[in-house]
């Protein structure tokens, strides 16, 4: 049974706080194992990578076959049906055109004193993209990471994907081909992260590593942070549906199930002003789950982590939504544009009855890599900004330096940094 709360109940605050604080991931203590793997890859390079890949993935690789050849990529991509290729191409094109709008602009200007100031953006030289293989095969993930990198102007994209027992879904390589990714290694786990961060004879090091992975991958990313940049550590996926009486209970139920089927702690929450809708959705989730081919993961997720919360007004729903700060917020209400204004903390907002979250996972155009575990309070989804960096520009003329020198030297004195003050005063004509 999903949790059922009523915001008017006397124990609501306590039970809602418990919901917010609940852990949905088993924290695995893998730090020491990962540290050992990273040290091994740093010491022995490709040999270590190949050995660990054969040990964990039974992939049957040698240092010479870590990388997919052009032929291997082309022939795998050719095995994908025309329908799938077209769908991935549609997704690619829409993601690309949306992300093109995110490219930041340089801003160089001269102020009233004659000081040149500005911000200049440049792409990161080389990024690594981690793509999970194994149980889950998500070609959409390849696009969501590679397309913003390409749009940003990243010159080198190195993709890693484990191939357990030598197997890999062809659609992964097809998505890479569509995105223009040509450097792909059949490696995964902490050893892949270490190879990307420190480099080996056959894999040049990158500057930043993106993409989701299991507990070992997440720990490895934390450990190499500083040596390279990393993206957010992704947690279990989550959706919050806010529904009023205009909502279609069957559609809401389908969206709650779609989130729950990710498993691994994925969470679906419904907040509604309608007690009757809450009951209908609850029953409808049960009914639709029984029709789903592989229902066990979704059912377990819904029963363990799902929640239905009834509230008096949409204002209360908004307050709760901002406290939950969900990765995905669906507004299944009559006037989603009006409700959206108050939702300040959300990875993505889906407007109205005809925008199931799943459309954003694939072909909406926005990115599906979004902040989880309440981090939408302070973090944004993946975008072009994650693949560029800004350099500040400052330039003084003799006269603008003179105009600023007094204040700067005064602050240098307060901070007891005499050398700072002298580097300014030595340049002044006296």
């Amino acid at each position: 049974m999903p949790l059922r709360l009523d915001s008017a109940a006397p124990d609501f605050e306590r039970r809602f706080a418990e919901l917010l604080a609940s852990k949905r991931e088993a924290s695995q203590e893998v730090g020491d194992t990962v540290a050992g793997i990273i040290a091994d890859v740093r010491a022995r390079g490709d040999e270590a990578v190949a050995e660990l890949t054969n040990k964990f993935d039974k992939a049957g690789v040698t240092p010479d076959t870590l990388r997919f050849s052009e032929d291997e990529i082309a022939s795998a991509a050719a095995r994908v049906s025309a329908e799938v290729r077209e769908a991935l191409q549609t997704a690619h094109d829409r993601i690309k055109s949306h992300h093109e709008r995110q490219k930041p602009k340089d801003d160089l200007y001269t102020d009233a004193l004659g000081v040149t100031l500005g911000s200049r953006w440049t792409p990161i030289d080389a990024v690594g993209i981690y793509v999970p293989g194994g149980l889950a095969s998500y070609p959409s993930s390849v696009l969501m990471n590679a397309v913003p990198a390409k749009v940003a102007g990243v010159e080198r994209i190195a993709m890693v994907v484990p191939t357990p027992n030598g197997q890999l879904a062809s659609a992964i390589l097809c998505a890479a081909q569509i995105a223009g990714v040509t450097e792909i290694y059949r490696i995964g786990g902490a050893q892949a992260v270490a190879a990307l961060a420190y480099g080996t004879a056959s894999i040049a090091r990158v500057d930043k590593i993106m993409g989701p992975g299991n507990a070992y991958v997440a720990a490895a990313k934390r450990q190499v942070f500083g040596q390279v940049g990393i993206d957010l550590i992704a947690g279990p996926s989550e959706v919050l549906v806010i529904a009023d009486r205009s909502a279609n209970p069957a559609w809401v139920a389908a969206d709650l199930i779609a989130q729950a089927e990710h498993g691994g702690g994925a969470q679906s929450i419904l907040v509604t002003t309608e007690e009757a809708l809450a009951d209908t959705v609850d029953a409808e989730v049960d009914r639709q789950l029984s029709l789903l081919p592989k229902q066990s993961i979704a059912r377990e997720g819904w029963e363990e982590f799902g929640a239905i919360i009834t509230v008096d007004t949409l204002e209360t729903a908004t307050i709760l939504a901002n406290r939950i700060a969900s990765e995905h917020v669906e507004l299944a209400v009559d006037d989603p544009q009006a409700l959206m204004v108050g939702i300040r903390h959300a990875g993505a907002i889906f407007l109205g009855h005809h925008t199931p979250e799943a459309i954003g996972d694939y072909v909406g155009g926005s990115n599906h890599v979004l902040p989880t575990a309440r981090s939408a309070r302070f973090a944004s989804g993946l975008g072009v900004l994650d693949f560029v960096k800004r350099t500040s520009i400052l330039g003084c003329t003799p006269s603008s330096l003179s105009a600023l020198a007094g204040a700067a030297v005064t602050i240098a004195e307060v901070e007891a940094l005499d050398g700072h003050g002298r580097s300014i005063s030595i340049r002044l004509n006296r």
Copy 2:
């Protein structure tokens, strides 16, 4: 003696690689101590914070006196001279007007299919700013963190600053007053970070923690990351000066000294096309050091971590600069605008002979919190973007959903996520 390299020497590549790889910070293993402190603050709240503050800082506080009163702030600020207040006000105003230009714009639009798409930016609700007390007192740091937060629209700024033996430089509170920061606690170390991240009875939790600190503070920030956001972990400061024959050796020497006087592993590197200039600067650093009131830190830093590299051309200098990816890059050359184009990896670039790096530390207007330890390859300096987050917006109409449904359902099938596909197809009229 600083390291002296010549890019034409046969052993250059090896020695340059050693320079790049050299560690300038003693890595202190403080993780377990910090974990204990965080657990204590989470368990006992203000009591633990006060106890630890008295133990480490001899600050003589109780849970009731953790926060500076309005009167305490006002009377401390009033003790600051008019000259210092004006200098800080000038710095504040220039930082503010530069950062105003960094505010990102929302982008909401409807595409050809009728899909509503967009990015909406909102400020973070509450940020914590860590300000070092003790040995170093840097009011400029208060401004560099607080002003972008204010510009971003952050509603609550909680500042923490340790007061060893109950002492605090008045200029710190004056800078806070100028920046409009009113919530200030006399606490520091891992206990301050824990209080900001998890909250206590008297200190409400924040969403993101910014600002530099010692090894304990850095470790605490790493450990609370996820619960809250954090900024970059700051390493020792560094400057790279590129000089041609137009450079003034005394000015270049003053800038190398200004960086070295930060101590703690700070690094100054000169890359020049002129062998004679290299010699003159080397001698000039010695001469100016002997005139500096507190020369020991700067001299030790220069001799241990300083380097002078001679190169054949400015093109070679550019290549080395991009490999070094320094926090600060000064272009002490005849045509800095032309040289700037090729410098892709730098926290900030300072143009020409009249732009000492120190002017950017205080009153240039750009931010002095910049990526160190070669992280300019993938990271940017502090700015307004660090205090806001982006929410993606997606909205389909019945007809645009129909147009996108086929591709989305196809990808859902490839990814074996039936519930995703069904949440889309259930909405289609058939």
